[in-house]
Amino acid sequence: ILLPNISSIPPGFLPNVTAPAWDSFKKFLGCRPGEKFNGLAKIKQYFHYFGYIPNSPSNFTDDFDDVLESALRTYQQNFNLKVTGELDQQTLNKIVQPRCGNADIINGTTTMNSGKWTAFNTTSPFHTVGH
């Protein structure tokens, strides 16, 4: 949908009929390492998609395990959030924001930190589909 003049469109002309893609993640607020929460595998898939978890998506469980905590910490560092390793309000607010589909970490290398590359302790290639 391309809106040629947004200012001329009256309120309610285009109803918001669909929930944004990651709205359901808000229910994970307060989840902490060691807990299990129904659907948490989906947030692992999110982190996998953007390069923070190297495992295959088929392996994901609903456990808040070390893999998820590590991904969260790296994500929080990359987005200049307070590094807590938990699904706190500031982190969830950032996670549900619309974003570019390109991964933040490619081939186990994060390049988001200003002016330098940081190698991670992984040799598994992931999310390499030509981006």
Binding site: L3, P4, P10, N80, T109, H131
Partner: protein, 195 residues
């Protein structure tokens, strides 16, 4: 700033400084829609010695299209918000935008009554950065920061973006270093955000 992995990082070869771009014919974009891309490309060509010219042939260096869901590159779009667009590293030249978004072509996106409205130029400027070889940046003010809220406009290259892209391609000799914007673009933005 950051680059895609590689040593040296991928970039357009020296023989390719005047790139062509085209739009997927099936999208049927209007001239007004296309002008958003013209402005976005101009923001980058202001700071580096590269030019971008639209062509009718979809055999161009850069190919742009709006698609929904699974569109054949293994990176399906996910409907309203979520992922908005993606672009491939040089010299692939592919820029894909999620056609299910409510893209704002003109007007003040910040006052939109549509909560999920997304400013098209803001996203296109970001994706062109990828097409040229930039990865994501941790600096929130940078164009290459990965996320953007709906109803937000962010189109000006930050110093971080400029330093990164000039490391790949050098500096546009006409760029004075004080402002990344051409006077014409700057004037439009200070006159109420209308184009």
């Amino acid at each position: 700033y950051s680059f895609f992995p590689g040593n040296p990082p991928p970039r357009w070869p020296d023989s390719k400084r005047d790139l062509t771009y085209s739009f997927w014919p099936g999208n049927g974009l209007t001239d007004q829609d296309k002008s958003v891309f013209t402005r976005a490309f101009a923001r980058w060509s202001t700071v580096i010695p590269m030019t971008f010219t639209e062509t009718d042939s979809f055999n161009s260096d850069i190919r742009i299209g709006f698609f929904s869901g699974d569109h054949g590159d293994g990176e399906p779009f996910d409907g309203v918000l979520g992922t908005l667009a993606h672009a491939f590293s040089p010299p692939s030249g592919l820029l894909h935008l999620d056609s299910e978004e409510e893209w704002v072509v003109s007007g003040d996106v910040s006052t939109s009554s549509i909560l999920s409205a997304v400013d098209l130029e803001s996203v296109v400027v970001h994706e062109i950065g990828h097409l040229l070889g930039l990865g994501h940046s941790s600096i929130e003010e940078a164009i290459m920061y990965p996320s953007i809220s709906s109803r937000t406009r962010k189109v000006e290259l930050a110093q971080d973006d400029i330093e990164g892209i000039q490391k790949l391609y050098g500096k546009n000799p006409n760029y004075n270093g004080s402002s990344p914007l051409t006077p014409a673009i700057q004037e439009r933005e200070t006159n109420g955000g209308q184009y």
